[in-house]
């Protein structure tokens, strides 16, 4: 049996382990009915960590918008002003095997509006755990093509209010499945990624009065569906042992119609989508310490803020 990078290198023990992970993820789905934000492109890339290697990243971000989309129509609301969201996210990555990484992330979020009377929301958002598996690794001359799969689960760390314009998150438990093709030739790389985020149902604080029959039972309860989304990400750039620079585009599309922002319409049932472009840089400072920075902006969207986001962080190899 072959070991190390190269052709098909999954041992039967590896395989059993994978099967267990997937089974656990599936059980989670059925037991909880899942939801969530999706993994930011910076968190999930095509670069494997390597067996028993770990890294810890601490990222700070700030995202602002003064325009949001009601369905796809741009709107400004003088009673909302500019919404600013700041987050501090801890991301840990550990190579369980040479072809299997575990990625855990947990953000602390603060969000507030500059006008009107929405109170500031602050607290822990959703913890997510993702297994990234490099299923295939082909050597094509001096270049390499790898095919990866990832399965993630995320859930709120606290029962924050999700049915509000100014909120921490969707409030749902989510299952996230995706596949990636990662090609690297010298310093150049390109990664294409397609994902499906299944969002679980959310129980609101109140009985829904104004319902969309496709979202709710006409008996009007407190439980609502959150539309699933699909996600397509393309990312390309240059990477060396000292630094990397890339650009990326992310498109999230609601899989079901969902509702649109409106009076009495629960925010979680809205169909949310966007096209976001960004650029990310990483620089090794010394030893195992690096810094990273990302800037991104939303070009078009549906029922979401037309936001710009910057983030920066420290990456520590462990």
């Amino acid at each position: 049996m072959l070991k190390g990078k190269g052709y098909f290198c999954v041992t039967s023990a590896d395989f059993m382990r994978l099967l267990i992970y997937f089974t656990v993820a599936l059980l989670f789905t059925f037991a909880h009915q899942t939801h969530a934000q999706g993994l930011a492109p910076g968190i999930l890339d095509g670069f494997m960590k390597g067996q028993r290697k770990a890294s810890l990243a601490i990222m700070a971000s700030q995202e602002t918008y003064n325009t949001y989309y009601i369905n796809t129509t741009e709107t400004k609301n003088p009673n909302l002003g500019t919404v600013t969201t700041q987050a501090l996210t801890v991301v840990g990555t550990y190579g369980l095997g040479y072809d299997l990484d575990l990625i855990i992330s947990a953000p602390y979020i603060r969000t507030e509006a500059s006008a009107g009377y929405f109170p500031k929301q602050e607290g822990l958002q959703d913890v997510s755990g993702t297994l990234r598996w490099e299923a295939f690794d082909y050597k094509l001359g001096k270049t390499r093509l790898s095919w990866l799969f990832a399965a993630g689960y995320s859930m709120p760390m606290q029962e924050y209010v999700s049915d509000a314009m100014v909120r921490l998150g969707y409030g749902s438990k989510n299952l996230d499945g995706r596949t990636m093709l990662h090609y690297k030739a010298g310093p150049f790389f390109i990664t294409g990624q397609y994902g499906y985020i299944r969002r679980g149902q959310v129980t609101l604080d109140h009985v829904v009065n104004n319902y969309d029959p496709s979202q709710l039972n006409p008996n009007s309860g407190m439980k609502v569906n959150v539309p699933d989304v699909t996600e397509l990400i393309v990312r390309t750039g240059l990477v060396t042992k000292r630094a990397s620079l890339d650009v990326w585009g992310q498109q999230q599309t609601p899989r079901t119609e969902g509702t649109n922002i409106g009076p009495g319409i629960p925010f979680p049932t809205n169909g949310v989508g966007f096209t976001r472009v960004g650029t990310t840089a990483w620089l090794k400072l010394f030893g195992k310490v690096g810094i990273t920075a990302t800037a991104s902006t939303i070009l078009s969207g549906r029922n979401t803020g037309k936001s710009t986001r910057v983030n920066g962080g420290l990456v520590l190899g462990l």
């Binding site: 098909f8 009915q33 399965a151 924050y160 009985v207 409106g262 009076p263």
Partner: protein, 518 residues
């Protein structure tokens, strides 16, 4: 070989994961309400005291054809053919309407209120256009079904249903036509039957009376209401419950009663409720009584107060002089220790609102896009009377319950608006508070939620005495929710609860003297 087995493994894993992701059922199941045999037929309900009719025979109904007549037999044959076998859609209609005619029309009314509870957006000039009844589907839609509007709409709907059913019971026991399945046992029935006479059909009466009121209240919804009216009548045929002449008579009777009820509605002062020219005088009067800072809209641009003259609309259970006596005593002066203490309570919550406080604030918010606190309490009332294993109220008793609650809710709305505009007291947002529940655009003192809730709890506790503690706990929580939501001072809420309880007592007094013996 290994290569293919691994490819196969990945394919299977991907397929399983994809199926898990995409095809799991996300449908939400909740218990459906179903028909029941009433605990009592309320045979004497034809003598109960009505609201708008002076007597049940204010409206007239010709005697039906005898069940032995050729006309009736032809109707029976037609009924048998139409009820013999039902499509899925017909069965669903039978089950839906079988849960209760008053229950369903009240639910429809609440749904419409929620759909129309949308404040107008400001235009380019910074003004808020007023909805136009003559052009109901234009932007902004007519009506803006805010709490005062919804309270009144539900009151007229419930009164029309109740008065029409009292007249119905009168004629049912005058003419005593048995139901089709009692005349001919081979009629296939899809709902529980009783010995209640079937002429006129109570379902048709409720459908027509409700349709007429809702058409006037929501003039843009005529096609929707037409479809409901037709389906409701058809469901009685499909269920084998009424022959055609039972339904025709019911529609006639329902229309007659609703016309009288809506004639009263036209004269109750609602047409002047949005008279914004009165607010300057209200502000001056409040200042004259010593208020140093009056309520001001906190919206951008500034929005005129919601229906400032709603406090002048006619009440149901007492007269205008009583309304003035019911008005709570003045709120604390803004420089008083009482005010400082109340504001301190809000500041504490503003700094550190607990999740449970947020939950309570959200549960009772019933703001834009909802069917408002009056609708919330009507849901509570309708469910209490409809619980299949407990109350199992007849249609007429259900209508009586809802009319008592709805008239009391409208009385509460009128009294509360009179109080609000009389004192013109500033909201806590004028002193730096935030709110997550939506800031109501009218003065603070007293709390509408508290007034509505106490009035409803007082009436419901009288009708369902075993649940008194439960209703009052709900009213207290609804009242507290406005403090947790930071849009009312504690004294707004305690004064509102006390006033609402007094208002509810008038409906309770009426219920003890309406001849029902209940």
């Amino acid at each position: 070989m290994k290569k293919y087995s691994q490819l196969l493994t990945i394919a299977i894993l991907s397929a399983v994961l994809s199926v898990a992701l995409i095809s799991c059922d996300k449908s939400i199941s909740e218990p459906q309400r179903v028909g029941y045999t009433p605990g009592s037929l309320d045979e004497k309900a034809g003598t109960w005291k009505t609201y708008v009719l002076t007597a049940p025979n204010d409206v007239t109904l010709a005697a039906p054809a005898s069940t032995a007549s050729a006309t009736y037999q032809a109707e029976l044959t037609d009924l048998k053919s139409k009820s013999a076998s039902l499509s899925q859609e017909q069965q669903e209609a039978v089950v839906y309407w079988g849960a209760g005619a008053v229950y369903r029309w009240d639910e429809i009314a609440r749904e419409l209120a929620a759909r129309y509870n949308t404040p107008s957006a400001s235009n380019a000039d910074g003004k808020y256009p007023v909805p136009d009844a003559a052009n109901p589907l234009a932007d902004p839609k007519f009506p803006f079904a805010n709490p005062p509007y919804t309270a009144r709409m539900l009151a007229y709907l419930s009164v029309a249903q109740y008065d029409a059913l009292v007249a119905t019971w009168n004629y049912k026991y005058t003419y005593k036509r048995p139901s089709p399945s009692k005349v001919d046992a081979t009629v296939r029935v899809a709902l529980p039957t009783s010995v209640l006479p079937s002429y006129p059909s109570e379902d048709a009466v409720i459908a027509a009376a409700s349709y007429t009121v809702l058409k006037a209240m929501f003039p843009g919804e005529v096609p929707f209401l037409d479809a409901k009216l037709a389906e409701h009548q058809n469901s009685r045929i499909w269920a084998g419950m009424n022959v055609a002449s039972d339904l025709v008579a019911g529609i006639d009777l329902g229309n007659q009663v609703a016309a009288k009820v809506m004639a009263k509605a036209k004269m109750d002062g609602m047409s002047a409720a949005n008279n914004q020219t009165l607010t300057a005088g209200m502000v001056e009067a409040a200042k004259g009584r010593g208020l140093t800072e009056v309520w001001q809209s906190q919206e951008i641009p500034v929005r005129p107060p919601m229906l400032p003259n709603y406090g002048a609309v006619l009440n149901w259970n007492f007269d205008a002089a009583t309304k003035v006596k019911l008005r709570p005593v003045p709120p604390p002066a803004l420089d008083s220790p009482e005010f400082a203490k109340a504001l301190d309570e809000l500041k504490t919550i503003n700094n550190n609102q607990t999740r449970e406080q947020a939950r309570i604030a959200n549960y009772w918010a019933d703001g834009a896009g909802s069917y408002t606190p009056p609708g919330h309490w009507m849901r509570t009332a309708a469910n209490a009377a409809n619980e299949a294993n407990e109350a199992r109220y007849s249609e007429v008793r259900m209508a009586r319950t809802l009319a008592l609650v709805a008239t009391s809710l409208m009385d509460a709305g009128v009294c509360c608006w009179d109080t609000k505009m009389f004192y013109y007291y500033p909201r806590p947002q004028q002193f730096g508070m935030k709110t997550s529940v939506g800031l109501p655009n009218f003065p603070s003192y007293t709390s509408g939620h508290s007034t509505f809730s106490a009035a409803a709890a007082e009436v419901l506790s009288s009708i369902f005495p075993a649940r008194t503690d439960e209703f009052w706990a709900q009213a207290q929580e609804a009242s507290d929710s406005r403090v947790y939501g930071l849009i009312h001072y504690r004294f707004d809420c305690t004064a509102g609860l006390a006033c609402g309880k007094n208002i509810g007592a008038y409906a309770v007094a009426r219920s003890k003297a309406d001849g029902s013996g209940l």
